[in-house]
Every structure is written in structure tokens, then in C-alpha cells.
């Protein structure tokens, strides 16, 4: 199945893209998907502890089972607003 991947800020810089399509086996969990992404882009490993994970625009548990066509976003700690 195909997962749409969204990347922001530091993660976008590491991967070199704002978005990718990722092929994954059926029944994969979010945690397993991120394991695969980090394996391909090892510089993400340093950020794993502070990474927030969203599926279809909502923060979810890493144990969430993904479906074909889901949009997964890897979110660095946020820093918006006033300086």
C-alpha cells in the first residue's frame, strides 16, 4: 500500500523533500513505518525522541495501524507565534 509522507522544518531538510510517497506492507503500524524512514534517513534518529506523529492531520499513537492512502506527517517540536 501507499502512504503519503509529509515532512517539515528540520525533517524536510534532512530528507530533502516536503513530501514523499512511501510503499509499505499492509497492516504496518506507524511506529514500524517511522522505523523504516529512520533507517533510510539515519540523521532523523537524533530527533526520534521529540518527533510528533500525525495521521490524516491528527496526532495519534505510534501503535496506530495505517491504511492505504493515509497521510503521515512527521512533526518537529513546534515554535510558532511571537519570538
Amino acid at each position: 500500500m501507499q502512504i503519503r509522507l509529509r515532512l517539515f522544518a528540520t525533517y524536510r531538510e534532512i530528507v530533502g523533500s516536503r513530501g514523499l510517497t512511501w510503499s509499505a506492507r499492509d497492516g504496518i503500524t506507524l511506529r514500524e513505518l517511522v522505523d523504516g524512514i529512520v533507517a533510510k534517513y539515519p540523521r532523523l534518529a537524533d530527533h526520534r525522541g521529540s518527533m510528533l506523529l500525525a495521521v490524516n492531520e491528527a496526532i495519534v499513537s505510534p501503535e496506530r495501524v495505517l491504511n492505504d492512502g493515509d497521510e503521515v506527517a512527521l512533526l518537529p517540536p513546534v515554535s510558532g507565534g511571537a519570538r
Binding site: 509529509r6 517539515f8 491528527a58 512533526l75 513546534v78 515554535s79 510558532g80 507565534g81 511571537a82 519570538r83
Partner: protein
């Protein structure tokens, strides 16, 4: 009014969006880009659909939590120069105490949970920066 936009924030429009006949107070908070050393602008990157959902939920939570009348939040996207407005939060309520409190709470929550990231844009040329 909830929005994330590239264009300048129309502060008067944000203010007018929360005017209510039963409100005795309006608080308008404006976050601006500060001229820290070497900084000439900030670039704001936003996961827009999630940010809009999150800002909408925060405005609703603020109404319930503080009993205010109306809340508007507008955040910039893209490059904002030093001195420019990056975020505006307007809040109306019956009295000033809860209106100030709601505005401050929402600003803290925006910085904590809304998927918006900022990057410094330095004013020095790259060749100069590389020699430091």
C-alpha cells in the same frame, strides 16, 4: 476569524471580527519579529490543514474555559521581516480579567501545540557568515 496567511495581517479586521454588543473588553495581542542580532526576518512554515484545525479548537476551548464571547487567531506563513506582525490574537469578553487571561492562554497554546515552525533569516551575506 481563524486563518494562516502569507499576506500581511489586517489588525483592524481581526479586531472587528470579535466585536460583540455584550462584550465590555477586547484584547488584541500582536506578536512581532524582533531584531535579534543578525536576524533580518523569520520564515514561518506551517502544516496548514492541521494548524487551522488546531487554532479552531483552541478558540473554542478558550470560549469554554474563560467564558469569553469571541476569539480570532491569524498567523503568518512565509517570510516576515523584522518589525512585521507574525501573529494576531483578538479576544472579546464581558470583562477585562478573563479576556486578558484567555488571550494569554491561547498564545501559550499556539506556541506549544500548533504545527508552525520558524527559521531565522540572517542578514549577513553567506561569504561573511562562512568566515565566522
Amino acid at each position: 476569524m481563524i486563518d494562516v496567511r502569507r499576506a500581511r495581517i489586517d489588525l483592524e479586521a481581526v479586531l472587528d471580527s470579535v466585536r460583540r454588543d455584550d462584550a465590555g473588553a477586547i484584547v488584541l495581542f500582536v506578536g512581532t519579529v524582533r531584531s535579534d542580532e543578525g536576524i533580518r526576518a523569520l520564515d514561518y512554515e506551517v502544516y496548514r490543514p492541521m494548524a487551522i484545525k488546531s487554532l479552531t479548537a483552541l478558540a473554542e476551548q478558550a470560549k469554554e474555559k474563560f467564558g469569553i464571547a469571541a476569539m480570532s487567531i491569524v498567523h503568518r506563513l512565509g517570510r516576515v521581516p523584522v518589525g512585521g506582525d507574525s501573529v494576531a490574537i483578538a479576544c472579546s469578553g464581558g470583562h477585562r480579567a478573563e479576556t486578558f487571561a484567555a488571550c494569554e492562554w491561547v498564545m501559550d497554546e499556539v506556541k506549544r501545540i500548533v504545527p508552525i515552525w520558524k527559521t531565522d533569516v540572517e542578514g549577513r551575506p553567506k561569504s561573511v557568515r562562512g568566515r565566522r
